[in-house]
Each structure stands twice: as structure tokens, then as C-alpha cells.
Amino acid sequence: MRKKIDELGRFSNPSLLILSSLAGGPKHGYAMIQDIEEFSGTRLEVGTLYGALARLEEQGWIEPLESEDRRRPYRLTGLGLSALQEQLKTMQQIVRTGLSRLAEVNS
């Protein structure tokens, strides 16, 4: 049975960041770390990155491409794209609700 991103335990947040990074095109490990640091300010460590990559690969959300030297790029699959969309929609809902409640409090 397919899981949701937030069911990946301590790898949920890194997985979401990785999927968001790969939504911009295939990337290898180091490029992902740099990209994630740029768009989210989160410094992802290498052990966590590859722990999350293994889980994402197992779920079929990402797939490895042919390696370039020792660096293997990964890309988002169709399943990964829908998992990311679903998760982002939920988060969007949370953000919208949270912001509106904050606005009520502030007003």
C-alpha cells in the first residue's frame, strides 16, 4: 500500500524537501543539498538525505538515472509528483487556516 509523505517518520520533512527540489528537474545528491539550502534554508545532512532517498525510491516516488562519474542523479516519477501535490495541498490548507486564524487574533 502506498504511504503518504508524512508517514515516513523522521524522514517526512527531508522527503518533502527532496521531492520539492526534484520537482525542478533531476539532481544528484550535492545539487539537492544546495538547492534545498537555497529555497528553504535547511541544511540537509548527507546521512539523512540518503536515508530519505532510499525510502522515496522504495515508494517509487523517485528513480535513479544513469550515474555521471560517481554522482547519480534522481528524478521525480509520476507517483512522486502526485504524492508531492497531495502533501502540498494539505500544507496549503494548513497554512491558509493558520494565517486566517492569526489574522483574526491580530485584528
Partner: protein, 372 residues
Amino acid sequence: MKPTFIHWCALRLLCFYPRAWRARYVDEVAAVLEQRPATLRTVFDLLLGIFDAYFHSELFTERKFVMLQRLRDSQLVIYAAFACCAFFWAIYGLLNFYQPGVPDYDLTSPAPAYSFVSPLVWALGLVAVLSTLLGGCAFLARALKQSFARDRRNILPFICILLSMLIFMQFLGALYLLVVPYMNAAFLKVIWELDAVAFLAFGLLGIIFRVRQGIQAGTLSLRFVRPVCIPLLLALLIIALLFVTFSPNFTSYAFSSTRKWLFLSLLLLAFVGTISSGVIFVARWLRRVEYSQSFLRFTLFFAGVTTCALLVMSGLLLYETLIIDLHVSTLGSSLMRVPLLNVITLCIALPAVIACLALRRGVHARRELQQA
């Protein structure tokens, strides 16, 4: 990036991950660590990762990717074992030709009954050579095709290093010409000199192309440069300089009594450097290529034939050596050749056993792939 103690710790920690994890990710993680300075947090994160990898081993084992890697590695080990066996087999054969200063055991008493061994060993050796050529060439052709498709410049260092290794094998093979009756010594000298120059030239070119390519792509590994390239380049440059300076009388200059040991040690360093860097380079090259499941299943047949031939061949050679041992000991004579034969036979048998273990691993991986 200057490697720090923490960086060293982070790299060492990778050795503690499960084998399947390492087979799948270690190159990638090492590449990331080379580009990004490790901190204490990285080390702690990698430590946590070790526990995670052991507790969730299902994520890394019995996966098609790992099985394919295992199938590929087992075959590469078999071909490497064949190269090792072939080298010592050549020395074994030469020992039968050269017997400086020792009486022939066969002349002192009736010959022991091992005459059937030699033709069998030659036949099996031929089978092993043919199957290795077929399987090995398939691997090389696939590697060349993929590298050429990726970038044409990729194949230059590969071809140069491969040529230098082939010339080295030809250099060893040329030793057999010494036993051909009426062989012209001057002709042999020319062949060896040409071999030595071509070997060193192609080896040097290969290394230079590889280093240049690595610098351009920013992927040059210090592990490759430090132990192999630096002594090799130094030795090659010194020899090249000597060769250019004294080319008309190079051999007599180099082999004069005072400079003989210096030149021979430099030559040995250059040969060992070229062969070791060549082997590392070709092995890493072949491991980077993507092989399909059908390709690996097909080539496993040739690797299997090579292994069986090597195993039977080494068994026969062990039998022959045992007979010689017994024969010589009953004669009560001691020949320097006999312990040497024992050592060389063991040097042939050991890679054959390694090839056998690798084949077992390969067959197991193939079966798991079929089940998957």
C-alpha cells in the same frame, strides 16, 4: 578542499554501513562529502544513518539494483582472477624452459606419470582465454559505447591505458620467443625496446588524459592521484628524460653497472604504477557503466566457463607439482625449482578459488534476479 580530521571520520564511518547500502550509495555519499565540508553534525548524522540502515535493511537488500551490481562485480572479479592466473601460468611455463644450473629431474630417473597434464592444461587455458576474450570484450564494448555516447573525450584515457596494459601482456608473452630455436637476439631486443617505449608512452598519455579530464570535470579523486599518479609520473618522466638524453646508447647507458639498480628500480616503479593505476582505472570505469539484466545474464555464461577452466587447470597443475615434489624427494635431491614451482602453482590456484567464489555469488544474484 583540504581534508580535515572530521572529514576523515565521516569517510571512515561509511565502512560501517551494511554491505548492500555501501554497494548502492557509498560512491554517491563519498562524492557529496568531497564537495561539502563535513562537520560534527555530519558525523552524528552518519552515525544515526548506520543504525537506520541496519534497522531498515529491507530498503537496501534484495533490490534489483544491488543484485545487478553483484552480478557485474562477480564477473569482473572472475576476469581479474583470470589475468592473475595467466600471469603466473606464463611464469610457470617459463620455468619449464629455463633451468639454469640445476639438473633435470626427468633425466635422473624414469619420468613420473604426469605427461597427460600438459596438453590438458594447454587446452583448458585456451578455453579460458577464449571465454575471457568473448565475455571481457563484451564488457569493454559496452563501456566504450556508453562512454562515447556520453562524451567522446571520455574514451581517450581508457584506450591509452588499455593499450599500455595489452602491450605489457605482449611484453611478457615475448619472453617465450627466447625459447624459439635460432631466434635472432637483436630482433628480440628491438621488440622489447619497442614494447617498453610503447608501454610507457601509452601509460603516460592515459594518465595525463585522465588527470586533465578529472581537472576539467572537477572529479579528480585524491585517492587516485596521490598513491598512483605521483610516483608513476615521476618515474616515467625520469625515464623519458634519460631516454631522450642518451637515446643512441640508451640500453648500454642504463644498464651500466653504476646506474643499473637506479634504472631498474625506476623501471619497476613505472611498471607497477602503470599496471596498478591501469587496473584501478579500468575497474572503476567498468563499474560506472550501466549493464542491463539480459547482458549480465548472458555474459555470466562466459565467466562461468572461464572459472571452470581455471579451477580444473589449477587442480591439474597442483597434481603435477605434487608428483614432481614426491619424485624429487624420493631422489633425495633438492632443487631450487621445486619450492618455486609450489609457490607459483599456489599463486595460480588462489585466484582460481577466488573466481569460483565470485561465480557462486554471481549465480546466486542471477537466481534472485530471476525470482524478483
